[in-house]
Symmetry: C2
Subunit: 317 residues, 2 copies
């Protein structure tokens, strides 16, 4: 069994690559839920939805979020009714949220609902929310503490970040649907997809049982660097690193995961960092990490899995 | 103040006619909520929505229900996700249901939410749900008791009806937003719009306080016959009358409301019944009641109001 942690768009592309190359029964994708929120009575799960749309091929490649062929009649009408439509809900996307709401209202756990939705989209590998427990990512900024959506959507990532807090995490248990197989020794390894470490991967790591497991793990862990040439492919990562006084390079990423990282995949544009990363005891793979199309995603997935195998062999030795 | 009771489509057309000819501050439209139900976590209010769409001019004249210019992307997507889409939710219509759900979740009464929605659609007269209390119309058929939506949508009105039951009515109080002004003596009269008496008007009458008020009323009441030439303009009324062993004519309608009816507007095609209706003590108006367009709706509204005035004068005398 291969496990992978992922946030939204960037991570979702690698998730699709992994789903393309790993037999479905051997892949478990674990998705950040720290960005989840309620809007108009619907439970919005931005990262989970990004992953299932990417894996099922329904995502809009051009816009980078949401569904392809999307229409916005409902949103336009909400606006005319005087509703604050700060969050864009597409007409097709709405169906997924309505289904999820009705499943949750019927007593399903977040994981149950997620499983049914992924299956409804024709996905055969496991796609699991990190936890059934409410965990909310809070961004501590120079304007005070903002919810992730406030920071990311309303304020367009403008406030300077100081720290991150995962409200509810200390009481959160990882969803058994993924954690059992990782904790039981059945896993070949864990891939940290190229999502923002602070707001996409760290929420998963903030669950006490998860960090505990990683510290005593019996499986290899590799990360795919979300940076290319000192910039994030998408999103506020580079800005966050600078505001936190960190460098925008693979060394910062490796340092962030240092407690449990065995290997890191870096972009060929960052090949100069290879030597220093090796010096720090990591195994390295270098390749094109800009997933401009599905082929690149698949190749990056294979490279990540090969590195995982290499790290696994080294750990066994 | 003019009051009117209305169900869905047919009644909604007259509701719009009334809104066209009565100053908004002088008109209170009271709408049946016996058909209301929850679907995918949304509160669907079919008759209330028909009335507000008709009064705001957003209704689809051709289809006879729902919004004009409607699209169905969400419904199609729900179907692909395996959801039973027995009830058609349009993309624009969805906005109204989402707004209503969020208002109700925020603690608004059904009336509060209705008021906000009507205002959001630009409506200036009062449009009020009959009650804030859950009342559900049950249709007693030869296949047992069915909820209204089961009978009307799923079973397409095929089962033979025997009776009707309004679950919850005996504990329901009429919404103060309309009842106060009718009970206080401030009303010039009540128009029963040409909706199905059994499943659109009777639910309103089933509220004990309403029937009690009508029995001791100090205002005139006129009905607009929902039948034309022995047939319903739309819907299962004629079939229901036959199955209940009643005739499909204005006499049956007048008899149904006999306890409190002062006048009835009948279609010119039913002019032959005028004499018998007068013999029963009712005042009559005869005109075109097939509201094929807005002009006919307005004329019918004026005829109804004139008859109301006539009945009011007679009562005063």
């Amino acid at each position: 069994m291969i496990h992978a942690f992922s946030g939204g768009v960037g991570g979702a592309k690698l998730a699709r690559g992994l789903a393309d190359v790993v037999p479905p029964q051997d892949l478990t994708l674990v998705v950040n839920t720290g960005d989840d929120f309620d809007y108009l009575g619907l439970r919005i799960m931005p990262d989970f939805d990004s992953v299932v749309y990417a894996v099922s091929g329904l995502n809009d490649e051009e816009r980078g979020w949401g569904r392809s062929g999307e229409t916005w009649r409902c949103k336009e009408t909400l606006g005319k009714l005087g509703v604050d439509t700060w969050f864009s809900l597409g007409d097709k996307d709405l169906a997924l949220h309505l289904l999820r709401r009705s499943l949750l209202d019927g007593g399903a756990t977040v994981t149950d609902a997620a499983t049914e939705i992924a299956q409804g989209l024709g996905i055969t590998c496991r796609v699991v929310p990190m936890t059934n427990h409410p965990v909310r990512t809070m961004v501590v900024t120079d304007e005070g503490e903002l919810s992730f959506q406030d920071y990311f959507v309303r304020r367009r990532c403008e406030p300077r970040v100081r720290a991150f807090r995962f409200a509810g995490a200390n009481r959160g248990t990882p969803s058994p649907a993924w954690f059992q197989s990782l904790a039981s020794g059945a896993s070949s390894g864990l891939v940290l997809c190229p999502s923002n470490p602070f707001v996409s991967i760290d929420p998963i790591l903030s669950l006490p049982a998860v960090r505990g497991l990683l510290m005593r793990r019996e499986f290899p862990v590799v990360a795919v660097s979300p940076l290319v040439g000192g910039a994030a492919v998408k999103g506020p990562l580079a800005k966050m690193l600078r505001e936190l006084g960190l460098d925008c390079d693979p060394l910062a990423i490796a340092a962030h995961y240092a407690d449990f990282l065995d290997g890191i995949v870096i972009d060929q544009r960052d090949a100069a960092y290879e030597a220093e990363l090796r010096r720090r005891g990591l195994r390295i793979a270098v390749c094109d990490t800009m997933m401009a199309d599905r082929d690149v995603s698949r190749r990056l997935a294979r490279v990540s899995l090969d590195l995982l195998t290499e790290c696994g062999a080294r750990r066994a030795a």
